[in-house]
Assembly symmetry: C2
Homo-oligomer: 470 residues x 2
């Protein structure tokens, strides 16, 4: 997208200040940074910078801003909406090498980390101190905490513990022109000036590059237990969720799988999935400070779902817990195996109407002859809707997608929900933002974008349906 | 501050569109809107608008923006930093009449309310449905939820339940030019575009006027119990807090009072305060879903604080709970009675260093011959520091204040904290913002201000040490 002269000039200037080893131009390596985990999306960057410090980030941004070259920040590249894909070429600015856990302060229950830390590593290190960092996106073991902040990542544990934004106390960020800004700090309460941490959360790398993160930790639960409950139908499963919460029980997770998801995984797992013939599954984890507390919760859940309950499988060993979770965790694998190209949506609706949403979608998909699989977070209304291309012609599939997305988003919005609960808008959904937000709302967001990045060099082509120069 | 011609023109235009009864010009009534609960601060508005709908807010802002007249939004006027005091005159825009609870959705555990709803009323209505809205600022029974959002209000329950921002899912706001904007919505997860809800939280009426609020509720605890623990010193009390949390116990509140606070309240309450001779008190509330759970927590707290504990008073009736809380709740009353003019600061520091902060301050105050009282939220590091004028000459007091504030803020910042934990910057602290934030950080915040309110008509003279035109 940029001419050779600009890129060469940029390369020399970056190499000069960052040293050669941090500035990558090898095409084979650049190719690895041309995509994230989004199905069927690839754009080549012109250069890759692997920053090792805030100074590296600062220098890279300063030079790129001066030369008007776009910068796409990248954590671990596990996003699924093209957020870290360089759709306008330019520089990929990776924070993967900034991966130190700088501090775990046990007394104040705070962690200070660099953005490239793998979320799972932070969790393990915290656990070692008796502490917990709860947010648990599916990509936990490979995603980075910086990416989690940029996407305001969710996960199954949102029902009890909330999402990324509930744990971020402060940030060090670098603006497009290289200015280093600190937001928030080491305390839970802080109302000194605007809540800039709040606006960075979920801004998908379009406002600033995150270089340091202050996180709140909580005491880890001493006991937990997983249970699987089969239901005849998704309606019954959703009713059970409402009933559990009405009984003042908040499990750590309440995941669901509808019939087609169960069937697909059952096939994939050669029939070893429990209750393979059920119409829906709820996969519930309860936790607490003692086994007694956990068992009392399980008993109370049994009472709460009694009217619809047929069986409950309570895992009483780690291997049984793994067996219970394996089905839920294998869904994507089963989908990719069945159809490498698929549409993955993650709409959110108020929790008590999930079944209306699913039924309406399923009817529509069947009418169109499409095969779909739905699963996700029943506790917070966040539904994963995967539609599989299977053996449809690629051109026909591509032609179908815009209307397919619109039909899905329209139903979510009509039920009081929105188009994305945890994956973000990124590149994939930007043309549909107008379905969820008014022109005035988008204009306000673009004015905020300008306040951070007046030349629009940071992650262009994401979130907004039209250029922020508009 | 405005000439009569402008104000008359404004008055006629507002009366014309809003009807006379919503536009107030009576000086005696305006006088009541010239202050909030800040000690020693008063500025007269030129006009008062009592909005009854989003349309009223929209029309008021549109006209004021056109005529360049400043608008100070006001909830219940219970702030303590002059946030709702019209320091540049102009219009006070009160949302006190927009006080309807529009919806409590029990199944989805969501409330939809207008900004003028009194926080306590919302809590009671939620409780009636078995649900809880946890944030509990001291002014709970008189403050409004709109003001809580504007200030991102805290309270004792922050240690377990978090603060206002942790419960706000979405907002309807009106920008300075009258544009209505919706942020977030009815779901816990929502990453569709920027987190505008996040930036409005704590923006102190400088970015937009809040006209509707979507809140997350949680199941209410079925049981709770209050306990009072006396300590020889504040160090021992802070050590006990660290120990409790390290034992994986998170009480609903952990409040503290240091010796001078205990002494003052003891005098005020004629010696009826328990453990009046202690060096410090911790006032702890534990809650849970059963009496058993609550008693088990109390037992675990006893174990956790064993090494320093002398006595524990466990309230076993509501009247005893009230007795325990009365001392903590009477502090301000005792202060005002002793000295109607006083400095009230609410710095925040990492929880484990509260005692360093207090000791350093106390030494400084004593050196200066000042009488101070300190108390607050030991669970989250938010310390209330009240310095009493007593019989000092008013002019001497006024001369003393700037250095006094600087000395307090400097110590909080040096310990890794900040200048305000829950009260906000408002008018009182704006000249000290540069102690906590860099020039670049303030400039960024002012660019954000401009994105919302290009003519700077909304609550001018607040937060920023210099005009946002700078």
């Amino acid at each position: 997208m940029y001419n050779t002269e600009i890129i060469n000039n940029l390369k020399y200037r970056l190499q000069d200040i960052l040293t050669d080893k941090k500035v990558e131009t090898d095409v084979d390596i650049l190719d690895k940074y041309s995509c994230d985990e989004t199905s069927d999306l690839r754009f080549m960057p012109d250069l890759l910078v692997r920053a090792e410090s805030v100074e590296d980030v600062r220098n890279t941004l300063k030079i790129c801003n001066e030369l008007n070259v776009s910068v796409t920040p990248r954590g671990a590249g596990t996003g699924v909406t093209g957020g870290s894909v360089p759709v306008s070429g330019g520089v990929i600015l990776s924070t993967e090498k900034m991966n130190r856990i700088l501090e775990i302060d046990r007394d104040n229950m705070i962690a200070v980390v660099e953005p490239g830390v793998i979320t799972f590593d932070l969790q393990q290190k915290a656990l070692h101190e008796g502490l917990m960092y709860p947010p648990d996106p599916a990509s936990l073991e490979t995603c980075s905490i910086g990416g989690n902040v940029a996407e305001n990542a969710g996960g199954p544990k949102a029902v009890k513990y909330g999402i990324t934004k509930d744990y971020i106390l402060g940030l060090e960020i670098v603006l497009a022109d290289g200015t280093v800004v600190n937001t928030g700090g080491r305390t839970v309460k802080n109302v000194t000036g605007y809540n800039l941490t709040g606006i960075i959360l979920g801004s998908e790398g379009t406002l600033a590059v995150i270089t340091k993160i202050y996180l709140r930790l909580i005491p880890s639960p001493a006991a937990s237990r997983d249970i699987l409950i089969p239901f005849n139908s998704i309606e019954r499963a959703v009713e059970a969720v409402t009933s559990i919460l009405k009984h003042r029980i908040i499990p750590a997770t309440i995941e669901f799988m509808e019939k087609d998801a169960i069937d697909l995984v059952s096939k994939h797992m050669d029939g070893t999935i429990p209750y393979a013939d059920a119409g829906a599954h709820l996969l519930i984890q309860v936790d607490g400070q003692s086994d007694d507390e956990v068992y009392s919760l399980i008993n109370r859940i049994s009472v709460a779902v009694d009217i619809v309950q047929e069986k409950i499988l309570v895992a009483d060993s780690i291997s049984q817990s793994n067996r219970i979770w394996k089905a839920r965790r294998s869904i994507r694998e089963a989908i990719v195996k069945t159809s490498p190209i698929f549409l993955a949506e993650d709409c959110v609706v108020p929790r008590a109407v999930i079944h209306f949403f699913l039924k309406s979608l399923k009817e529509f998909f069947i009418l169109k002859g499409l095969y779909s699989v739905m699963f996700g977070h029943a506790g917070d209304g966040n539904v994963h809707i995967d539609v599989l291309k299977k053996d449809m012609e690629y051109s026909e599939w591509k032609k179908l997608l815009p209307d397919l997305k619109k039909q899905i988003y329209r139903r979510a919005i009509d039920l009081g929900g929105t188009i994305t609960g945890e994956h973000g808008v990124g590149y994939l959904r930007k043309d549909y933002l107008t379905m969820a937000l008014s022109a005035e709302e988008i204009a306000l967001q673009q004015r905020i974008k300008k306040a951070f990045d007046p030349k629009s060099i940071l992650n262009p082509g994401k979130i907004f349906p039209f250029s922020s120069e508009a």
